[in-house]
Symmetry: C2
Subunit: 508 residues, 2 copies
C-alpha cells in the first residue's frame, strides 16, 4: 500500500511539473473538457429532435477527433474530415442510385463497390505525398461504407448522409469554436520558438566543445548513448543533437502552421513558414560541424594538452564570437528584427583570421617531422618554446609522448576484455598527464608479441598532433558555414517583413 | 481536356510505379478492401438481430481504424482500442450508478463528470511517455462520453456498453483476421531491411566521398538543399542522409515490432529489436564522419589536386576497405549470420595504418612553412617531387596558388552580388585548374582598397593544405568508429542468436 501511495505521489509530482513547465497543456486539457461538456449539453437539449439525437455519437466523435493541440492541426484535421465526409457521401449516394439499376444483383453490386473503393482509397493513401491527408482517406472509407451499409438496410440514403453531416458540422463547430476562441495554441509560434531554441542549443554546444577541448576534458567512458546516437544528458551533446534531430518536428509544425490564419505577430496571409525551416536547416548544416568538433573531443586520438594551449586564445575567441553570433541571430529571430547595418560576422571573421594567422605561423605543431623523407627539421623540443603568448609551456621532452590513445571501453563484450591489449604498452607509457591505453586492438590482438606493438603505437602517434589541425580547420569551416545561416536569415527577414532593429546602446 | 487526360496518365503511371517498387502496397490495399467487404456481408447477414445492426457503424469504424500497414501497428492499435473501450465502459457504468444517487442533480453530475474525465484524460495524454497510447486515450474519451450521453437518454447503460463492445470485437476480429492471416506485413522485417539499407547507403557515400575528393569533384553551385539540410538527389548526399535521418522511422518501427509475435526468422519471444536500433545508431555515429568528409568535399577551402594525389593510393584503399566492411556487415545483418573467425576490421586497419604511415612521412604537405617563426624549411617546390608513387607531379610553382576559395553562391540575396568582392583578386589568380573566387566577403567588403585584400587572401591560403589533413584524420576517425559498429553488431548477433557463418570459398 505504501508503494502504491508513493507511486501516486510520484505521478502527481510529475504531472504538476509538466503543468509548471508548459501551462498551455493545462489550458488545453480544460478546453477539451469544456468542448465535451458543451456538446453533451447540446445533445441533452436537442432531445426533442429524435432523428438527430439517436446518432449523437457522430458529434462526440468529431469533437474528440478534431480537437488537436495546435490550431493548425485542428483546422487541417477538420478540413480532412469535412472533405472526406462530403466526397464519400456524394459518391455513396451516386453509387446507391446506380445500384438500384442492378436489380436483384443490387447487394452484390454494393459489396463489390465497397471492395473497389476500399482498394483504391487505401492505395492512394499509401502514396508518399498523400501522407498529410491520411486521415481524410480514413474518414472517406468509413463514411462510404457506413452510408452504403445502413442506407441499404433502411433505404434512407439521403437522410443518413444529411443527418451525419449535420451532426459532424455541429461537433466540428463546437470543437473549432472552443479551440480557436479560447486561448488558441498556434503551431507557428511553436515553430518560431523551436528555431530560436535551436540557435541557443547550438551556441551552447559550440562553447562547450571549444572549452572542453581546451581544458582537455576527457570522457572516461563515452556514454554508449552517444555512440549509438540516442538522447543523453550530456548538455554539450544534447544542444546540437536537438538541433540536428528537429527536422521531423519542424516539418510537422510547418505542415500545421500553413493552415493557420494570420495572428499575433504573423500578420500576413501565406506567412513564409518555409523560410523558418530553411534558417533552421542552415543552422543544422553548422551544427554538423559542431558535431564533428565534438567528435574531436570524443576521439581516441588526441593532441597533447601543451599543443592545444598554444592556440588557446585564438580558439577560445572563435568559439566565443561564434556563439555570440548564433545567440544574436537567435534573438533576432525571436524578436523578429532585421540585422543592423553592422556586419554581424565581422568579429567572428576577425577571430577566425587571427586563428588562421596563428596556424600559419605555428603549423609545424600539427606534424611530427621525425619520419619526413626530406629530412628532419629542428628538434621538437624547441618548437613549443617559441611562443608569443607568454604562457610558454615546456614540452615534456618525449616528442612522441603525446600519443594519447584510449581504449574505447564502452559496451565491450567480455571477449574484448580478455584480450592482451589492455596491458600497458611499455613504449608509450609516458610522463603525459593523459596517460591512456592503446586503442587499436585489431592488429595487436593478432600479433601477440611485443615488437609489432611498438611499431604499431608509433604509427598512430603522429595522428595525435593532426587531430589539433582537424579541430582548427573544422572550427574555421564552421565559421564559413555561418555565412550561410546569415544569408538564410536575411532572406527570412525580408520575406517575413521583420521590423527594423532598434538601435541598442551596445551597438557602435 | 487534353491536360486532364495527361494528368490521369501521369497519376496512373506513378501509381503503377509505386506498385512495382513495393508490391506489398497492392496486397495491403486488396486486404483492406476484403476486410471491408467481409464486415459489410456480416452486417447484411445479421439483419434479423436489429439491436446489433442499428449500431453497425462501430464495427466498420473499428475495421477502418485498426487496419494498419504492419501487423505490429495493427495489434498495438487494436489493443489501445480494446483497453480504452473496456476501461471507459466500466468507468461510465460506475459513474452512471453514482449519478442516480444525485437525484435531481443527475444531469449536472453527468456533465461535470464529463468535464473532469475529459480534463484528466487529455492531460495524461500530453505526458511524453504516453505518446504511444495517444489513440487509446482518444477512444477512452469517446466511449465514456458516448455511453454517458446515450445511456442517459435511453436508460440502457449496460445494453449500450455491451452492444458496442460486441460490435467492436466483431470489427476487430475481422480486421485482425484478414490482416494477420493473409500475407502479413511485419514491422520487424521493415526494421531489419532498413538497417541493412542504411549500411549500404553509408558504404556508397563513403566511396563517393573518397573518390569525389581524390578526383577533385567541385560543386559549381552547392545545391541549396544540402546547405539547408533537405532531401536532395545527390546520391552521395542521400546515402548518408538516409542513415542519419532514419532515427524516428526506426523508433516507430521498433515500437510496432515489439508487439509482433515470433515469426519467420525472428523466432524468439522478446526478440531484441532494440539491438537492431543500437547497431543502426552506431552506424549513424560513423555516418556523421562521412558527413564531415562530405563537408570537406563541399568546403570553400580546398587543398590542391597535386597534394591530394600524393595520398591517392592510401586514401582510396581506406575508402574501399571501409566500404567493404560496411557492406559485409550489412550483408551479415541481412542474412543474420555471425562474424567469421577472421577479424573483419583487419584489412581496413591495415589500410588506415598505411595511410598513417604515409602521413608520417609526408605531413610537411599539410602545412605551409613560409611564415613559420622557427624559420623556413626547404622550398615548397621540392616537396612534391619527392614521391614514391612514380606518379610524380610537378607543383605548379606558386606555392600559394592552391588557395582554392570559392564564393558560396547559393541563395545569395541581391545585396551580396552588388558588393565588390566578386571581382577577381589579383593576388590569387593562379595557374591552378580550380580557379575560383574568394569566399571571405566580410572583411573585403569593408576594406574597399586593394592592399588589405592581398593580406586577406594570404591569410586564408594556408588553410587549404590543412584541409587535406582534416580529410585524412576524419577518415582515420571513421575507421576508429567502425570498431564500435562491430561491437554493437556482435552484441546483436549474440542476443538474436544469429546463425554461424557458412564457410565461403573466398575466406582464407
Amino acid at each position: 500500500f505504501i508503494g502504491f501511495w508513493e507511486n501516486v505521489q510520484d505521478v502527481t509530482f510529475k504531472a504538476y511539473q509538466m503543468g509548471l513547465s508548459d501551462p498551455r497543456k493545462i489550458i488545453f486539457s480544460a478546453k477539451m473538457g469544456l468542448a465535451l461538456m458543451l456538446i453533451s449539453i447540446l445533445i441533452f437539449m436537442k432531445e426533442p429532435i429524435k432523428g438527430l439525437s439517436s446518432h449523437s455519437v457522430w458529434a462526440i466523435l468529431t469533437v474528440v477527433v478534431v480537437f488537436e493541440f495546435s490550431i493548425g492541426a485542428t483546422l487541417s484535421k477538420g478540413l480532412n474530415r469535412g472533405i472526406g465526409t462530403l466526397s464519400a457521401g456524394g459518391l455513396a449516394l451516386a453509387t446507391a442510385e446506380l445500384s438500384r439499376l442492378a436489380g436483384e444483383w443490387e447487394e452484390v453490386f454494393i459489396i463489390f463497390s465497397i471492395f473497389t473503393i476500399g482498394f483504391f482509397a487505401t492505395y492512394a493513401k499509401l502514396y508518399p505525398t498523400m501522407k498529410p491527408y491520411e486521415y481524410g482517406f480514413r474518414v472517406f472509407l468509413l463514411t462510404y461504407c457506413f452510408v452504403m451499409v445502413s442506407g441499404y438496410r433502411t433505404r434512407e440514403f439521403i437522410g443518413i448522409a444529411v443527418n451525419r453531416f449535420l451532426l459532424i458540422a455541429l461537433g466540428a463547430g463546437v470543437g473549432l469554436g472552443v479551440n480557436i476562441c479560447i486561448y488558441p495554441i498556434w503551431a507557428g509560434e511553436d515553430l518560431h520558438n523551436l528555431v530560436t531554441k535551436n540557435f541557443m542549443g547550438v551556441a551552447t554546444s559550440l562553447e562547450g566543445c571549444v572549452n572542453g577541448y581546451l581544458n582537455c576534458v576527457e570522457y572516461e567512458r563515452i556514454p554508449s548513448k552517444i555512440l549509438t546516437y540516442q538522447a543523453s544528458d550530456d548538455p554539450l551533446y544534447s544542444g546540437y543533437r536537438a538541433a540536428v534531430e528537429s527536422t521531423s518536428q519542424e516539418d510537422a509544425l510547418m505542415g500545421f502552421a500553413i493552415w493557420e490564419p494570420p495572428h499575433g505577430p504573423y500578420r500576413s496571409f501565406k506567412y513564409p513558414w518555409k523560410s523558418y525551416v530553411n534558417v533552421s536547416g542552415a543552422l543544422r548544416h553548422c551544427a554538423f560541424m559542431i558535431m564533428a568538433l565534438h567528435g574531436c573531443v570524443l576521439s581516441e586520438i588526441q593532441a597533447s594538452a601543451e599543443r592545444r594551449q598554444v592556440f588557446r586564445r585564438e580558439l577560445q575567441k572563435v568559439g566565443t564570437e561564434g556563439a555570440k553570433v548564433l545567440r544574436e541571430l537567435g534573438n533576432k529571430v525571436k524578436r523578429m528584427e532585421k540585422l543592423g547595418p553592422d556586419d554581424i560576422l565581422h568579429q567572428v571573421h576577425e577571430a577566425a583570421e587571427e586563428l588562421q594567422d596563428k596556424v600559419d605561423k605555428k603549423s609545424y605543431l600539427f606534424v611530427n617531422s621525425e619520419d619526413w623523407e626530406i629530412g628532419n627539421r629542428a628538434k621538437d623540443q624547441d618548437l613549443l618554446s617559441v611562443d608569443d603568448n607568454h604562457n610558454t609551456i615546456v614540452l615534456e621532452h618525449k616528442s612522441r609522448s603525446e600519443a594519447v590513445l584510449d581504449l574505447r571501453s564502452v559496451n565491450m563484450p567480455q571477449s574484448w576484455d580478455s584480450n592482451d591489449m589492455k596491458k600497458p604498452m611499455p613504449s608509450i607509457v609516458s610522463s603525459n598527464v593523459y596517460q591512456k591505453q592503446i586503442s587499436w586492438p585489431s592488429r595487436v590482438s593478432f600479433t601477440a608479441d611485443a615488437v609489432p606493438q611498438v611499431e604499431e603505437s608509433k604509427t598512430y602517434e603522429s595522428a595525435s598532433a593532426l587531430s589539433l589541425a582537424t579541430f582548427t580547420s573544422l572550427l574555421i569551416e564552421f565559421v564559413a558555414r555561418l555565412q550561410n545561416v546569415v544569408v538564410e536569415f536575411e532572406a527570412l527577414s525580408e520575406i517575413a517583413k521583420f521590423k527594423e532593429p532598434v538601435e541598442s546602446p551596445a551597438a557602435q
